[in-house]
């Protein structure tokens, strides 16, 4: 059981900066995120794309922004719980008891939901029968690549994951790469490599095809793919891999009794608390009149929510407003030596 002041759900820029604000006012926090790294949408959707509207930062990429935020919270030694999704929430007198998908447990005074538009989960095939093969012969991510050796693998998608795995697995497996159009969103060098491998017969590329159906009983035996113009091919496949990026799902948060409107959580604008006392929501996931889905708004919301948490974490103390430029306490917390 991790006993801390505040649990932050979501390691995107808003959650990271909120951790900083909590640290400055002397509250402890830990962060849960179901991705395998910090950064949220910035890292998952646009790590290399420039952002131009962070105050006083004329231009930076999503990755740079994330790295700078991580650097900024380093003095507070915030513990991250990655690849974890918050599943259960129980009120325990004045505190909250939280459990994650990986059975990590927290005992906290307050919770800050900085969950963006929900947790990222792989986008799946639209063909219904795919469900029953999921995890046995159909995957959306690869944990153990050795199972593919000397097998027939059909990979769907046109982004970097699809291309990279097609190239890598073509060394040891018989790979089919199926993509819906002749353009790819993955790196140009990988596209060239795939085309080369196709010309050399080391990989089969099927362009303008999409999945039509899967054939098999307990495990997949083949997939039928359909061309834009209607032609259907059946290709032998021991394994099917789909790489269509990630989609965001609100998940268990929906069951916490929060006021939810169009996939966002309603909050007040004084301290970004939800209708449930002790649960705050900041960043893209919160809504209030005039809400702008900008990173800078998330920073503001995080600063106020952190102060809102104070009365739950330290009910007997009074929070005094201070500037980091002059506050001794804040500077000590930041580890600044003079």
């Amino acid at each position: 059981m991790n006993k801390i002041d505040v649990l932050i759900i979501g390691a995107g820029p808003t959650g990271l900066f909120c951790a900083h604000q909590l640290g400055i006012i002397g509250l402890s926090c830990e962060i849960v995120d179901n991705l395998d790294k910090a950064g949220g949408q910035c890292i998952e959707l646009y790590p290399d794309k420039p952002i131009y509207d962070i105050p006083a930062v004329p231009e930076c990429t999503g990755e740079e922004l994330t790295n700078n935020l991580l650097k900024q919270i380093k003095p507070f030694n915030v513990k991250f719980h990655l690849n974890e999704r918050v599943e259960e929430l129980k009120k325990n007198q004045n505190r909250w008891h939280v459990k994650t998908s990986g059975r990590v447990e927290f005992d906290v005074a307050a919770i800050v939901i900085a969950g963006g538009v929900g947790s990222f989960e792989p986008r799946k095939f639209s063909v219904k029968e795919c469900e029953k093969f999921e995890g046995n012969s159909l995957f959306y991510s690869i944990k153990d690549k050795s199972i593919f050796k000397d097998r027939n693998i059909s990979i769907f998608g046109g982004g970097d994951s699809a291309l990279d795995w097609a190239i890598e697995l073509s060394n040891v497996s018989k790979v089919n790469l199926i993509h819906r159009r002749d353009g790819f969103s993955g790196a140009e060098a990988s596209v060239q490599k795939v085309k080369e491998l196709n010309d050399q017969g080391k990989l089969n590329l099927f362009i303008k095809y999409q999945m039509d159906s899967v054939v098999g009983d307990k495990k997949i035996e083949s997939v039928k793919i359909k061309h834009d113009e209607g032609d259907i091919k059946e290709i032998k496949s021991d394994y099917v891999l789909g790489f269509f990026g990630l989609i965001m799902q609100l998940g268990p948060i929906l069951d916490w009794g929060l006021n939810i409107n169009k996939k966002t959580v309603e909050v007040n604008t004084e301290n970004f608390e939800t209708n449930v006392k002790g649960i705050f929501a900041i960043g893209d996931i919160c809504s209030y009149p005039g809400k702008l889905k900008l990173i800078l708004s998330g920073f503001h919301e995080g600063a106020l929510a952190a102060r809102g948490c104070f009365k739950y974490a330290k009910p007997d103390e009074k929070l005094r407003f201070e500037f980091t430029t002059t506050s001794k306490a804040a500077q000590e917390r930041l580890g600044i030596k003079k």
Partner: protein, 106 residues
């Protein structure tokens, strides 16, 4: 102003007057038309505002940018007449546009 017709997956049809300058996505969101999620808020970063454009309109719409086609790779059941509705900016020329909303966005 343009009249945009949204056909939802449950076979309901709504025609809305959408102001010039808004997107087809915003027209749907502001009028509570179900089936368009627009998770990223119009940033061409998610593909959850995916629609099928009525065939006769395909050539009349502004061409897709590269980023749009890349995101459509991620959409649920993309077809040749797929577009991201956040990239369709309403103008008088779009008066009468009809779009079909897919059964789901992800």
């Amino acid at each position: 102003m343009a009249k945009i017709t949204y056909h939802t997956h449950d076979n309901k049809t709504q025609t809305i007057d959408v102001q010039n300058g808004l997107t087809v996505m915003e027209g749907a969101i502001q009028n509570d038309i179900p089936g368009i999620d627009a998770d990223c808020g119009g940033g061409m970063a998610c593909a959850t505002c995916h629609v099928y454009v009525k065939e006769e309109w395909l050539d009349k719409l502004p061409a897709k940018e590269d980023g749009e086609e890349d995101m459509l790779d991620m959409a649920f059941e993309p077809k040749n007449n797929s577009r991201l509705s956040c990239q369709l900016i309403v103008s008088d020329e779009l008066d009468g546009l009809e779009v079909n909303i897919p059964s789901k966005q992800g």
